[in-house]
């Protein structure tokens, strides 16, 4: 069914099992602390609920097929853009440029992705959109803070659309690995099959677990903040513990990838580090704008971008490392 074979099913059973375990542990902690209001515990419960939603959303869309996964990420990009534009200091004169940014460019981007047209997908945003948007802005005639406004709009597109769309793009890598880049260009939908789904899930699982273990290690051992003026919660202890744990898990998941265990470990390590830096960059933006979260799209859980920050930084690098080293 869809892109799910027995290996994907096994992986989802493992994920579901871990979530059941996490839910039980949180329930026990809640029982032990009953009657008290504990913000850490409430946050833990919210995170577990968000992971359940993510796992179920991915499982359902993978069951339906590649189109459903692509539509899912298009919607996530749209919601991420909405959060980004809420806190970003755009000008009144940017309005018509923002209409292009929100409604037109993401659709073309995901359409190219859906067509498996890598050559067009890879350059649409960094070449055409990045040149077109400042042109549209200049035509609007407002030159005040022009450079900042142009940069802000391009960056919104980079992070919320281009980077996030690399997550479903990973599904196309198996054809590039097995049959070459030429053959992958314009290959039929779903040609990545279950292998493509597994590769995408590998990145998502490893990077999300890295976030989880950074949180766990940071909460238990964290003392020395990496960048105290950005986020006091990101500590060296959390970073090293979280990234190493997730890298070990990534190595242990080599069997769902086309890689050897040490190749899987290296890719996991790079992805986790990029994920950490993604969180750090997003924290800098939030701190600068004086907000704690990117909105409250998932009530009480923060926004979409708070959950996708690490993936948006790791997915493009993960994709291009594999494309460079493993495809011809």
């Amino acid at each position: 069914m869809g892109l799910i074979d027995s290996t994907v099913l096994t992986l989802f059973i493992c994920i579901g099992g871990s979530l059941v375990l996490a839910t039980i542990i949180a329930a026990i902690l809640g029982f032990a602390n009953r009657g008290k209001t504990n913000s850490t515990l409430r946050n833990l419960n919210q995170r577990i609920a968000a992971w359940w939603a993510m796992a179920i959303g991915l499982a359902v869309t993978l069951l339906i097929g590649e189109t459903a996964v692509i539509v899912l990420f298009l919607v996530l990009s749209f919601l991420a853009l909405r959060e980004f534009l809420t806190i970003a200091p755009t000008h009144r004169s940017d309005h018509k440029t923002l209409v292009w940014l929100v409604y037109v460019i993401p659709l073309i981007n995901y359409w190219f992705l859906w067509e498996h047209w890598y050559g067009a997908f890879a350059v649409l945003i960094p070449v055409y959109a990045f040149l077109f948007l400042p042109i549209r802005n200049a035509l609007a005639g407002d030159t005040s803070n022009f450079l900042q406004r142009a940069a802000l709009i391009q960056w919104a597109l980079m992070v919320c659309v281009y980077a996030i769309s690399y997550i479903p793009a990973i599904m196309q890598l198996p054809v590039m690995i097995n049959d070459g880049r030429e053959a992958a260009e314009g290959s039929p939908l779903g040609s990545g099959g279950a292998d493509g789904a597994l590769l995408m899930l590998f990145l998502i699982v490893v990077v999300q677990l890295s976030d989880v273990f950074q949180y766990v290690w940071g909460k238990t051992l964290g003392k020395h903040p990496v960048a105290p003026s950005v986020s006091p919660n990101k500590t060296w202890e959390g970073l090293i513990g979280g990234v190493l744990t997730a890298t070990a898990i990534g190595a242990g998941l080599w069997w769902i990838t086309p890689f050897t265990w040490w190749q899987a470990a290296l890719l996991a390590l790079v992805s986790c580090l990029m994920g950490f830096f993604g969180g750090l960059v997003m924290s800098s933006i939030k701190r600068d704008r004086g907000v704690k979260d990117f909105g409250a799209t998932i009530a009480g859980h923060g926004g979409i971008m708070d959950r996708l920050d690490s993936l948006s930084f790791s997915a493009p690098v993960f994709f291009h490392l594999i494309r460079f080293f493993f495809t011809t």
Partner: protein, 231 residues
């Protein structure tokens, strides 16, 4: 629940989702806002989304008895008229065409904050709505302005409050809607908005000027307090 009412609830949900509206009471504790059974709701005005959003967030049991006041020169003809009256239950009024309301003269009117005198016919319709026990949604600035500014209030709000002094006057601050669909634009850009419902005001033994200044200050303070800050 009739089919029309069911549709209206669906539409309300859609509007609230599309505008990403987070509804809260004024203050930092994030309390649930209170909607009195009958009230004169007034808000800052910077977008066509203002009146639909304010209508959409009304509790289901109160919504049928809330009448947004809309300008007849914009909403008064064709499809817009049927939508405004048929769906949003709007009451259309003719605006002050004799006194063009611009930003430039805002500083001149700020000293008095009294606005101009509304024509009596304009208010008659609204007082009848209040007498019938229904609520009003009005935008005392009289027209849409830039997102972060609140123009001087027209006198209508005071007259209505005086007409029905027992009806609470509820200030509502609308944030970000003007950034989503500013004046002069036709396609909204998605952002998350906020609807802040304040503690009701009652008109006391005060001058028109004092009341309008007090009423306007609630919105101005809320907009300034949250500069650059979102949920």
């Amino acid at each position: 629940m009739s089919a029309m009412r069911f549709l209206k609830r669906g539409l309300s949900g859609l509007i609230t989702t599309a505008s990403g509206a987070q509804i809260r009471a004024a203050g930092a504790d994030g309390a649930e806002p209170e909607f009195p059974p009958q009230a004169i709701y007034y808000a800052n005005h910077s977008s066509h989304l203002d009146f639909v959003t304010l209508w959409a967030i009304m509790p289901a049991e109160l919504q049928p008895r809330v009448r947004p006041i809309a300008a007849a020169d914009y909403w008064g003809s064709g499809l817009k008229k049927s939508v405004a009256q048929g769906i949003f239950n709007a009451h259309l009024v003719h605006r002050y065409k004799d006194r063009p309301h611009t930003r430039a003269d805002e500083s001149a009117t700020r000293q008095t904050d009294s606005g101009s005198s509304p024509r009596s016919s304009q208010l008659t319709g609204m007082t009848e709505i209040l007498d019938a026990g229904d609520s009003l949604i009005i935008f005392p600035e009289g027209t849409r302005g830039p997102e972060d500014q609140v123009a001087a209030f027209q006198a209508g709000l005071y007259r209505l409050a005086k007409h029905a002094p027992e009806v609470p006057v509820v200030p509502v601050t609308l944030k970000n809607l003007g950034r989503m669909l500013p004046k002069g634009e036709s396609i909204p850009v998605p952002r998350l908005s906020q609807v802040v419902v304040h503690t009701p005001l009652f008109v006391g033994d005060e001058t028109q000027e004092a009341f309008l200044t007090r009423a306007r200050a609630v919105l101005v303070d809320e907009l300034q307090a949250a500069e650059g800050e979102t949920p």
